[in-house]
Symmetry: C2
Subunit: 146 residues, 2 copies
């Protein structure tokens, strides 16, 4: 049922802003784990953290924004490298403490090492084996060229 309209007072939206965010269980640091999975390949590209603002901005803009614990600030993925992540889907799990993004990875490189995915270490016969090639020089991704 539509709310009665009072002249000069905007009608309350059907969902108050931020309602969906209230279902997300940020931890005592105000963070949730965020996983980026590539739509095309279904590979997991990376895992990072989000605070409430990062998740809100991700949903609003359609580009992945994380919280950088080392830099203690919002980290708009691709802000230096140009390799932004276009978000096609946002999911959360049964207890709401993990966020899953389905993304298109611009540039094909999600990892700061210049690889497609951060999960390039495979356990094989008791050793970690690197399975992915370096596709872009990190110095070029993050260097003075930009």
């Amino acid at each position: 049922m539509a709310a009665p309209v009072v002249p000069g007072v905007p009608a309350a939206p059907a969902i108050a802003a931020g309602d969906w965010l209230d279902a997300v269980r940020f931890d005592e640091r105000g963070l949730v784990t965020a996983i980026a999975q590539e739509v095309l390949t279904q590979r997991i590209l990376m895992v990072a953290w989000m605070d409430r603002q990062a998740l809100e901005e991700t949903a609003r803009t359609g580009q992945a924004v994380y919280w950088s614990r080392s830099r203690r600030r919002l980290w708009r993925k691709g802000e230096e490298s140009g390799n932004v992540q276009k978000v096609r889907e946002i999911r959360t799990d049964c207890d709401g403490d993990v966020v899953l993004l389905k993304v298109e990875q611009v540039g094909g490189v999600a990892c700061h090492t210049g690889r497609h995915s951060c999960f390039f270490n495979l356990l094989q016969d008791g050793r970690w084996v690197v399975t992915d090639p370096v596709l872009a020089d990190p110095a070029t991704l993050y260097g003075e060229q930009r």
Copy 2:
């Protein structure tokens, strides 16, 4: 080069037991984030925690073992429900603080709600929409029947 053999003293193995575990960066609580991704569908089934022992046992036995923070003990996935996860691949990421398991999900149900995946909440037009059906009654999975 092979180490000289001293009679009665076993030769050191090429890789000391646990070496690969030393590359994993457990946090101040002794835990890493662990993601289970289904081999067949490539869907992310669940995210949980592992301590060093859980990861070692997972690699040794080929069945996923996690650390339950609520129960404060090892959690052999499927120990109650029978829905074990057969581990086909173990990966870690560029900074070694997340473990990715590629698994076969026995019984087709990973979530304690009786759904295939824990990531059944999809953000759509500012609301969380449940996308996955309940495939098994949680009371049957965890009840007196077992």
